[in-house]
């Protein structure tokens, strides 16, 4: 069956450090992988999109990598700030599915 796996344990990290989140998937052939941020009680907000033929994408303090061989994406927040505390969702758009499939998300807590 198709799965998108993100760590269910919250990531607690000291302010200023780099937070790294992992998204693993099975039985998907994703054309695009997206990362969203979700704050409690709110809808997700789009952060970054990376295509299957791209290895890395950056936006300000955010960096995403995409390894289709390992079937994995890594999401990095450099110089983390307390305002970065949120849940981060991985989402795949795969050929044949024609819809965005979401992981459960990984919570990040940045400690001042």
């Amino acid at each position: 069956s198709q799965k998108i796996e993100q760590n269910s344990e919250a990531l607690n990290i000291q302010e200023g450090k780099t937070a790294t989140l992992t998204c693993n998937y099975t039985n998907y052939s994703p054309a695009y992988l997206q990362w969203y941020r979700q704050d409690p009680g709110r809808g997700p907000v789009f952060l970054l999109l990376i295509r299957e033929n791209e290895k890395e994408k950056r936006k300000e303090r955010l960096k995403v990598t995409f390894d289709t061989t390992l079937k994995q994406s890594l999401f990095h927040i450099t110089a983390s700030q307390p305002a970065d505390s949120a849940t981060y969702l991985c989402a795949l758009w795969a050929y044949g599915n024609n819809r965005l499939a979401f992981g459960k998300g990984n919570q990040v807590v940045v400690i001042p």
């Binding site: 695009y32 809808g43 997700p44 992981g103």
Partner: protein
């Protein structure tokens, strides 16, 4: 901040009542979606639309129905609410690309529904 709105934000209602959750977007997007999300769980697609008069069921079986009479409006209706419908409902929209797929989705703030 995305221009997509949902009302009400919170709703507490008794079993058997009919409810309509409203969703509107002002971005002129062709595609609209309804997701259901329980705490700590992934978003499940329950309905989507590719344009006016187009509606499709998503991956998660749902007793709700939707309509798309205007581009900007995509309401979701539950004819008879049950406690199992208690959840957060998120509406989203995206542009339609010629090549299809991978479009950024813009989400509303969600409606938190509690059925007693």
């Amino acid at each position: 901040e995305a221009d997509i709105y949902q009302t009400p934000r919170y709703l507490v209602i008794g079993t058997g009542k009919k409810i309509t959750l409203e969703c509107s977007q002002t971005m002129g997007h062709d595609k609209m979606y309804w997701y259901q999300q329980d705490p700590g769980m992934e978003l499940h697609l329950i309905h989507y639309s590719y344009g006016v008069n187009s509606t499709e069921k998503g991956d998660l079986s749902s007793e709700s129905t939707v309509s798309r009479i205007r581009t900007e409006h995509f309401p979701l209706t539950l004819e008879s609410a049950r406690p199992s419908h208690t959840s957060q409902y998120l509406c989203a929209s995206s542009e339609r690309r010629v090549a299809g797929g991978g479009e950024t989705q813009y989400f509303g703030p969600g409606t938190r529904l509690l059925v007693l």
